[in-house]
Symmetry: C2
Subunit: 138 residues, 2 copies
DNA sequence: TATTGTTATACTCTATAACTATA
DNA sequence: TATAGTTATAGAGTATAACAATA
């Protein structure tokens, strides 16, 4: 007889779905999609030299982020200019407005996460987050 | 400045995707889909009286599991008979073959999970799983 | 009239391949 | 010829609404 717990993937997928549902209203209020927010997050950590690299870093396809970049650029949340040294590639970075929007959204998301994390006691919470970060880095 | 960790949803979603990718070959080898396996798992824990309840319990839509139930029934992995007391509803339960298949697949999945859980030390692993189970029950 | 299961339809997401412009 | 970005197309997955059978 296998251990009584549910499968790992089932638990993780369900929690992820739940959390995404919680965050949806926040993103909608700021008129940004999940992938748009992922792009802002990736660019906040470091500017990128190619769209393909950006796509890879958020686990998406290079063809899929184009519409997202179009929209973010139209709203002047990101800059996207051809590299003078190689005019095929686009240099990507956040504008001040993009940075502000990201900060505002992330703050609300962090607060919303508490509805989930708040159910854990201190010890569980600490090791849960530590384990998640360790696994995520791998 | 917010805490340096990535957003919770980003970490959970990525780990879930990773784990699902790891399990895909196992499911394929046994010729069962992710949702098919989810159905077998749900029915192993307890037989169900309606398809809608089953769908809800695995986070799916009642219209979406029909094809899956058709297939599982065709392979005689589940039984699906009208309730004599209310012929609108279908009583659902695993056949012995369904139970065997589920056990075999789950054993392999548990083993595959170790490639991820094995990266944690004992303390992290213990509280990580405990926290996941607590959150999952909620 | 309400409910269970089913079917049909449309919509969203995603993956693949073809195209352009540079190199 | 190879690469970055773009566009077009098709496929899978999903949600919604309409339908038939039963209560």
């Amino acid at each position: 007889m296998t251990n009584g717990r549910p499968d790992l993937a089932a638990m993780l997928a369900r929690l992820a779905r739940q959390l995404i549902a919680i965050e949806q209203p926040i993103l909608a209020e700021h008129d940004v999609s999940m992938w748009g927010y992922a792009v802002l997050t990736a660019l906040r950590d470091e500017p990128m030299r190619t769209q393909a690299a950006l796509a890879r870093s958020i686990g998406a396809d290079k063809t899929r982020i184009i519409g997202i970049l179009d929209e973010l650029q139209r709203r002047t949340l990101i800059e996207r200019e051809p590299d003078p040294a190689d005019r095929r590639v686009r240099l990507l970075r956040l504008t001040p407005a993009g940075r502000d929007l990201h900060s505002a959204v992330q703050a609300e998301i962090r607060s919303a996460e508490e509805t989930m994390l708040g159910q854990l006691d201190d010890e569980e919470r600490h090791f849960f987050l530590q384990a998640l970060e360790n696994l995520h880095r791998t």
